[in-house]
């Protein structure tokens, strides 16, 4: 594993150096180009801010009110029937909405059940393999003014369910 880790940590600086060296070889004005591109960092960040605020606000309210616990309670019978470990259910529910809230739940699962427990490993796999679907949809579509999202969420959720099933089956086989 440490080989993959080293390669991946080396990749970012290597990629940057490669792009700059390639630019110099092709006689590009690298410094001016960098600055010109970097200007968009500020505008991009400001452009997405209202969408991020709107979404995080709604999730924050819902979380504070205990909304995720309520959905967890409602979906628990179904998910337990599908052999999802009980401890992991709150993580599964929260993950598509908020990365930081899901990370907090993962930390508490690792603490209470143990990092090397079955639930701990399933939870880690789910955290690593799934995304904050609703947040990404709100951000990407919001930034260009799309309101009709068509089949995006359906397809993403189908994949999420398959990914969840795969996580549980894989942890059963490999650990």
């Amino acid at each position: 594993m440490s080989v993959i880790e080293t390669i991946s940590l080396l990749f970012i600086p290597l990629f940057i150096v490669f792009v700059i060296v390639y630019g110099i070889v092709k006689k590009t004005r690298v410094y001016e180009s960098f600055v010109e591109g970097a200007k968009q960092g500020l505008t991009t960040s400001f452009k997405v801010m209202p969408y991020v605020i709107a979404f995080v606000f709604a999730v924050g309210l819902f979380k504070a009110a205990g909304g995720f616990e309520l959905i967890t309670q409602a979906l628990k019978p179904v998910l337990e029937f599908l052999h999802v470990p009980g401890e992991v259910i709150p993580l599964v529910i929260t993950r598509p909405f908020s990365g930081s809230a899901a990370l907090g739940i993962l930390a508490s699962i690792l603490k209470e059940s143990g990092a090397d427990s079955f639930a701990g490993r399933v939870a880690s796999t789910i955290m690593g393999s799934s995304e904050t679907i609703f947040y990404t949809v709100a951000l990407y579509f919001g930034s260009v003014g799309i309101t009709k999202t068509r089949h995006t969420v359906t397809a993403a959720l189908i994949a999420e369910v398959c990914c969840l099933a795969a996580s549980i089956i894989l942890c059963n086989i490999l650990f």
Binding site: M1, E5, S8, F11, I16, V19, V25, K26, T28, S33, G37, A38, Q40, G41, T44, V48, V52, I53, V56, F57, A58, G60, L61, F62, A64, A65, G66, G67, L106, L110, K111, G114, A115, S124, T125, M127, G128, S129, E131, F134, Y140, F141, S143, V144, G145, I146, T147, K148, T149, R150, H151, T152, A155, A156, I158, A159, A165, A166, S167, L170
Partner: protein, 194 residues
């Protein structure tokens, strides 16, 4: 969709809070969450600027064009309706690569650039095109080589081998990518027929 989801979360939060007797927590949660969101965006300015700067060098030197040429066929197969030579191809390729390598801070600016290009090609500006839906699905189901945050958290929690979930995560994301792309393809064909 986003409209209803957003309104639902807020209205439901209020109703649930009244039932749970947690109305006092609501206003505090509202203020803290918007502050966190604003701070997060501000803290991302640096990373966004870095990656958009590097991207611009790659663009000016012709590197993105080269990359787009090499990956044109496969990307245009998965993302329908993109013309040969469109800038969207290299942005999508960079967005996917950054996601796979776990560089979320780079994936977002590349993805947003790709979204702008796709919106320029989109005939109905309020309705997502097939390619836009696919970009979102690909971003939600990306293959993950190294989930660094999770490994760090497991290490802090005293796991014997914190990285032992790398293989399960990798395989699970392959399942997610395949099922995600396949469902999006099937759904886009079905909806286009109607």
């Amino acid at each position: 969709m986003i409209n209803y989801l957003w309104a639902f979360m807020i209205v439901a939060a209020f109703i649930i809070a009244v039932i749970n007797g947690k109305t006092a927590e609501l206003s505090e949660a509202a203020l803290i969450s918007v502050k966190d969101a604003a701070l997060m965006c501000l803290s991302l300015i640096g990373a966004y600027s870095l990656w958009l700067g590097i991207l611009n060098i790659a663009k000016k030197s012709g590197l993105t064009e080269k990359m787009a040429k090499a990956l044109s066929r496969i990307i245009r197969y998965v993302f329908s309706g993109i013309r040969e030579g469109s800038r969207a191809i290299s942005y999508i390729a960079l967005n996917i690569s950054a996601n796979i390598l776990g560089m979320g801070n780079a994936a977002t600016p590349f993805g947003l650039k790709a979204m702008q290009e796709l919106q320029a090609l989109n005939p109905d500006k309020s309705k997502a095109s097939d390619a836009m839906c696919m970009l979102l699905v690909v971003n939600s189901t990306s293959i993950q080589l190294l989930p660094l945050t999770v490994i760090a958290l497991r290490s802090a929690a005293g796991a014997k081998n914190p990285a032992d979930i790398v293989i399960t995560t990798f395989l699970a994301t392959i399942v997610a990518s395949i099922t995600g792309i396949a469902s999006a393809k099937i759904l886009e064909k079905r909806k286009n027929k109607q």
